[in-house]
Symmetry: C2
């Protein structure tokens, strides 16, 4: 026995969500149909609306249903600092860490020539136009510390070199609260190379 | 910073799913918007359709979009055996275990007077009418081995007593493959009381 065709389709449809296997999909379908029909209806409506209305901010490319996102509209951010990230989730992580008061630019990925993802696909034309405006003094290349993220940072650095902006990259090192034993060798050797004078205060 | 209002609403809406906390909801929202818009659209449409069209089988009350479910329609099941379960998930578990070739009746819960869930809410009028038809010879009360499941089984047993059907309950005992050390005392003592002659074949 399986469930009815429509219930099976519902379980199958949940599999599109990250980390959802057959058992979890079944539990989700049963939960919605048995106990949460109003919440399910609302979920369906909001997914539909978000997919139709949420696009990219015309200035920084973060996800938003507005033409220009709230952070780009804010008068309280520093126009001279621009932080380039691969995803809205990275942007949120940096915001939640606190401290950075500049603006952002969201790539939605990284360069990946084999997958046909070139500079325009990740908005580098828009990024260059932004820097060409002349307000930005420093671009923080906060792409992921992966091969692809590094390659993308290097590409952007050379693309922006003619504008005379300062370029920076997040510091590599041992994660705070981590144990050295579990830190990978590449990170550890970079942390050694980047070692700082120790002061006892 | 938070995400835009509509993206926040999407994250919030995912929280209706079982086991989905704020972090998972964020990952689901990002995944759909960044990488799976067609799958998301299909998920929304199927949730909507399932909530509108999936109801209870008029004969056994399992979830189905048909008036009568496939299992009730099947000519290959034994009408003399009727298994009463609390949920469609329990029904599926028994079907997947194999061996039972009778029919089912699904309560969608158990008696819970304090929550206003009485006999009619769990379809006991329909169950009684089914037994009154005269085809059923044995009713297997496969409600959960919980206080509420037991109480519901007892209620059904007394409700059906006048029809002269055989009533049975799933055997209690040590789960196969389990280690005695981790079996709770109540189960262990029931398993002792229900002990069977041991044959070496
Ligand atoms: Zn923006
Ligand atoms: Zn049925």
């Amino acid at each position: 026995m399986r469930f009815s065709p429509l219930v099976e389709q519902l379980m199958e449809a949940f599999r599109v969500l990250p980390g959802v296997g057959p058992k979890t999909a079944q539990r989700m379908a049963m939960h919605l149909l048995e106990r949460e029909r109003p919440g399910g209806q609302r979920l369906a409506a909001v997914i539909q609306q978000a997919i139709e209305e949420v696009g990219y901010c015309q200035r920084c490319r973060t996800l938003t249903e507005a033409e220009i996102c709230a952070l780009c509209e804010s008068a309280r951010r520093n126009d001279a600092l621009l932080c380039v990230v691969e995803s809205p989730a990275d942007q949120l992580a940096i915001e939640e860490a606190g401290g950075f008061k500049g603006r952002y630019f969201v790539l939605h990925g990284h360069l990946s020539p084999l997958d046909g993802i070139g500079p325009e696909s990740i908005g580098l034309d828009l990024l260059e136009a932004r820097v060409a405006e002349g307000l930005v003094e420093e671009v923080v290349l906060a792409t992921n510390p992966t091969i692809e993220g590094e390659a993308t940072a290097h590409y952007i650095a050379s693309q922006l070199s003619e504008y005379g902006v300062k370029l920076s990259r997040l510091a590599y090192g041992v994660p705070m609260g981590g144990e050295l034993e579990y830190v990978d060798g590449g990170t550890l050797s970079r942390a050694f190379n980047g070692r700082l004078p120790f002061t006892s205060e």
